[in-house]
Amino acid sequence: MEEYREEELTLPAEPMLLHMGPSHPAMHGTVRCVVKLDGETVVGSDVQIGYLHRGFEKECEWGTWTQVFPYTDRLNYASPLLNNIGYALAVEKLLGLQVPARCQYIRVILGELARICDHSVCSAAMAMELGAFTVFLYLVKAREWIFDILEEVTGARVTHAFCRIGGLRWDLPENFADRVRSVLPKSLEAIHECEQLLLRNRIFMDRTMGVGTITPERALAWGWTGPCLRSTGVAYDVRKAHPYLVYEDLDFDIPVGSQGDNYDRFVCRLEEIRQSARIVMQALDKLPDGPIAVPDDTGILLPQKLETYTTIERTIQHFKIIMEGIQVPPGEVYSYSEAANGELGFYLVSNGSGKPWKCRVRPPCFANVQALSELTRGRLLPDIIPTFGSINMIGGECDR
């Protein structure tokens, strides 16, 4: 008998190239994944981002410091308030400004509500892509209730443009605390139902456990942050590691994973929702009275409306800020905060004019998405879907 080698016995077959995206049901956030398939096994994948690039950084240089806020809304559009806060903190750091306590608490509350929204919608999308459409709608429903509150506070459901440098657009509406106290448990209940539907379901476990696994070392090497990094067991959270606003005064824990797989990422997000709810409740209890913005005499914020209408002094101030923008002293700053996907950094350079001379964003999911290719190599085509979902790529933030 002649000896045959394995290769000679099988039919020669070329790997199939499959373009997933940019318009593909699971490639939300507009991304393209060029997958090389051997059967359904992913031999290699090329994740191509940039379909949502709209020149955020250049746009910022065009507008005044305040005009950047609407743009930041469109970074991570699942949790715009966190971007608002991140940017406001960066400019305030450059200005050397400390906002009043009430403003800090409100920012924490709204930020954590936004985080709940973001984690809900991310988990929802991931579940939907695994075919659990009901879970998607339950989680979106949970988010919807919170959106109602945010709309009442900010005047818009998604594009809030609510933060201002040195303060906020408005104070909280009167019944805010009661609304949150009644809505949050409802949302958590919906989230609990989703957990019942998925967490111990074998199909879900099979699809997510051991899939998209990454070691803490690799995750750190890729520059991962946020829930994705924490799912590998690294308890790095900017809110704990480098506390900002009033996170130091609030009691919360960091959920971490153990395996760094899709399951851990999913569960970490759901756990973080609980922690965020905890933060919100505490902050509501501690919410102090007082101004929500730095005083008018700092010349940072647009002055009180009534005074603007009736006195020349505030009219002048109003005009100067509108005409020239806030006068930020020359210098540069890197400021970072914990956004929904991880560390959201703003690197700002001011040349003393009313506009940012340079505004660079360090979007958390840009670093996270890089690893997608590594996470899916050698896995099956369907594994791309939950892995991509659990990384939570947000095009607006990643492509800027």
Binding site: F69, E151, L197, R200, N201, I203, A235, H318
Partner: protein
């Protein structure tokens, strides 16, 4: 303090599919029967028939406020045009002729265009107005129209839009 999230054991309960499927169906069917019989938990609304009330702060379509005599409160100071990040506002200033009852304010918007299609509804124009002349408290959102020009809102149209309560005036106490 960091804590490690739970990962369920994989024993016969999970591995046999059926108990968890039944439990899941318990959740879904509970919703089903609650919605079919009696208590409706639906969060969606039948939109045009049922309208969700917008909160007072809702940023809707713009309006221009009026003085007591019906003239535009706007003085064409261009602050909103300056503050608008979408560059959707276009104003041409005019001056009241001598002898006009409003000649003391000198200036008014001869043309005032808002391209509601370009608008991003950020509200910066409202904040930028030093006269409380432009507002977004109409409680209206940009509805679909048949042609682009229909959403190019012009001065008189903007002046005629009222706020959610039907008022065309402002909170600006200045009579002048």
């Amino acid at each position: 303090m960091p804590y490690v999230v739970k990962r369920p054991e994989r024993d016969i309960w999970e591995q046999s599919y059926i108990p968890e499927t039944v439990r899941g169906m318990g959740v879904t069917l509970r919703h089903f029967f609650r919605n079919v019989i009696g208590r409706r938990d639906t969060v969606t609304i039948l939109y045009p028939e049922v309208q969700r009330p917008y909160p007072p702060r809702f940023r809707g379509l713009h309006r221009l406020t009026q003085r007591d005599d019906g003239s535009p409160r706007c003085t064409a100071c261009m602050c909103c045009q300056t503050a608008c990040p979408a560059e959707c506002i276009h104003i041409v200033a005019g001056s009241y002729p001598d002898g006009h009852p409003l000649a003391f304010v000198e200036k008014y918007p001869a043309e005032f265009w808002i391209d509601e299609l370009r608008c991003v509804f950020c509200g910066l124009c409202v904040e930028a107005c030093p006269c409380d002349a432009i507002r977004m408290d109409t409680g209206l959102h940009a509805r679909p129209v048949e042609a682009r020009p229909h959403l190019m809102y012009e001065r008189n149209l903007l002046l005629s839009i009222t706020d959610a309560k039907g008022d065309v005036l402002t909170a600006n106490p200045r009579k002048k």
